[in-house]
Amino acid sequence: MEHKNDFLNIVKIEYLTPENAKFSETANGFPKMEAFIPKVKKDDLEESVDDTAPVWQDLGRVFFHRAFPYDSAENFISVTDKEGNEYGLIRSLSEFDGAGREIIERELKRKYYTPVITKIKSVKERFGYSYWEVETESGSASFAMHDTFRNTAKISEERVVLTDVDGNRYEIKDVFALDRKSYRKIELYL
């Protein structure tokens, strides 16, 4: 039975598009945004304005947060203020182009730092800790993991994210695409 959920329509998602959101940079390269959206309340104690008509406003520095960092990193990117209050969502990065897109992409790259593992040189396990020597896209790295099985997040059949003792994340885009020796080393934790 096909089910249509009209109920969900009572809430509206504020989408930010090149038409209603202009991204630029501060003097020091932080992203800022001007947007044509309903007046943003700075404090919830302000008298509530029933006027939801959009206006152009300079929102200053903004922050980005991926809604689906693993499943679809390029889509549904939340634009928030410093406290994490959402101004709106970017449905897809591909809607933007030119300088605006560059600014968003650069900021995302700065926010999400996840070296991609291309080769596993060695894994040694000792008493609940494992010690890894790997090659990543930006050079060799070594790190230690605690409770390895638990900290090996299986995003999908082939994609894996390892979190080390410090909280650094390392991604393997496709474990089956690794060379045989590397695969054998990580197989244990899949």
Binding site: N28, P69, Y112, A141
Partner: protein, 742 residues
Amino acid sequence: MLPRLKIDSHYYDDAMQRAAEAFGAEPLFGFRFDLDRDNVPCAGYGCADAEKVCVCRGEEVMTAEIDSMDDIEYVQYIGCAAIEYTFDGERYELCRSDMKNAVALQNTVKRLRSLHEGKDIGHISENEDETACPVCGTPYRAGSKICPNCADRKKLLTRLLPVAKPHAVPLLISLALYFAGVGLSIYNGMINRTLVDDYLHTDTPKQEGFWWVIAVMVGVALFSALLPMVRGIIFAKVGNRITVKLRRDVYEKVQAMSLSGISRRTAGEIITRVTSDTDVMREFLVSILPDVLRISLTFIGISIAMFIINWKLTLMILIPVPLIILMFYFLRTFMNSIYHRQWHAEEAVNSLLHDVFSGIRVVKVFGTEKYESERFDKAARRVRDISKKNEVTWNKIMPFAEFLLGIGEYAILFFVGSAIIAGTSSLGELTQFLTYVGLIYGPLRQAAFLPRRFARAMTSAAKVFELIDEEPDVANGENAVDREITGNIHFEKVYFGYNNYEDVLKNITLDINKGEMAGIVGRSGVGKSTMINLVMRLYDVRSGRITVDGVDLRDYDQHCLRSQIGVVLQETYLFRGTIYSNIAYARPGCTSDDVIRAAKLANAHEFIMRLPDAYNTLVGERGQTLSGGERQRIAIARAILRDPKILILDEATASLDTKTEKLIQDALEKLISGRTTIAIAHRLSTLRNATKLVVLEKGEIEEMGTHEELILNKKRYYKLVMAQRQMSKMKKSDTTKPEVIK
């Protein structure tokens, strides 16, 4: 320089030197960082004194005046972190690093802030910010200074043995029995030889004493049977005691663990560790370890006996032994890894089961039984696949290994046989040797199974010790105060955050005097529950202090403190048992009279007496047979029975209908009188008896005072009250509507 994640230390030395040159003075402290603005790895070093901070990143060197840096902040990104500050109205990024140096950056921010405020930060020791073990370079775990690598060097074995120490006497007796057993085997070989050479295979067979030889053989066989029996009985006794002890240790540890330590793990995993892992450890101590002893004793004893008879032949027999041992070595590492996997898969099934049955109502309501079955099926199939694969691998390797082990016997047959044919050896000698070879290779065969058992035991032991080794975040002080409190709570400039860089509570200063009722108001996530968590000392404050009767919370004995605090939460957990035992839980050893009084005070007596089994009514695993309001009243009865000096109410009436709420409010009023009370409530009417209201906003106290004062203030509290009145008016008009229509 190519971007490298692993940066050789000399790059840091370079950066450090450049920074030092640019700095030109003796710095107070230094810190490392390893990413540039665009997350490209680089070697970075920064140093600071009271006036300025200087960072060096590759060729780039930058200095800033600390006085002119405002809002210095630690910014947590995903997988990296940065320090930002404001200068002349513009935001700047000072430096950035991956999480390896996160602690160092957090400390740096703390220090820079202090320096900016003109505070003295005191002496900073060299390795305070060290995030990796200076011995082996392994990074520390967050908030810990114990190197997992170096601390764990102490072999698990030396950890395991002390567990058996209290049972040393019976274990030594069994060791003696082992010696006797080996002696008997050697003697048995000698008799065999006598039997063949003197009685059976000789030209002049002796007549006398033949029955005697047979009798000795029977005697030896009898003793050989009796020895393992005695040993078995001893081990069964000792083994069970060890299991109980281990389980109790692990269980106590789990209870002593802080909340954050427990919530990190699934209940299923903890259960596995308490039950099956400890069992495997017992098996190690009373079965595997004795086997190792027995096998090595037999091996050494028999080898010596053979050497005495014919050393050349003995050497020949022993030559393949190193090969066999080598084979075992590789087998062991291999088996270790495959059994590790099986353990994880089995645990996944356990956790899944636990997960589903805890949430069985959700599963039923959403009708997802099929989906859950499939999920379980998938996990079970995984266990099946892994264990099948493991068994297959095992069975592929074993017969071949067995064959290799048998080769030695054929070698003996060949060499001694040739000697007999040549006339230099007797048949008796062959018999004796074959007996010994059987004895020596037999244990080696059993030893082939040892790696498998060993691996399993070590995996379990590592997991159990991991839990036992966990340092509690909240520990008792050295001279913990154990005394009755009166209930004057004082917050003094309290800062607290669940992590190091973000404060949930900021600069909280607050007095709650004996008998006062303080209501904490604020939106969700503002830190209300955090405040009461701190009062109960489930966590320790980051800076500042909380005192009760003038004594720092950290100086109290935890048990003493919590035994004088009563808590009524929004959701009440009832243990499996009777209503009576659930109420009496608060004060073991109280009389039935006490329990009934407490229930009466809590307005619970009436509904309890309406139940067929009254106080003996069994409440299910989650007290599902009782309604929310009824459970809440039992919780209040518990708190009343406890007679606490400090009472904490966390949304105690939030999930109840108006009528029940009235009953509970009445019960609570009786409980509150004369006690220091901290109450959290969204419904402000609940707090009408509060002598002091505290409005929290963004982790800070925004307003404080009595209801009347705050209403006159016309700030946040006033607005909240107005908004809630509006709501209740709307509700009333809703209910009156039908009457209007009539």
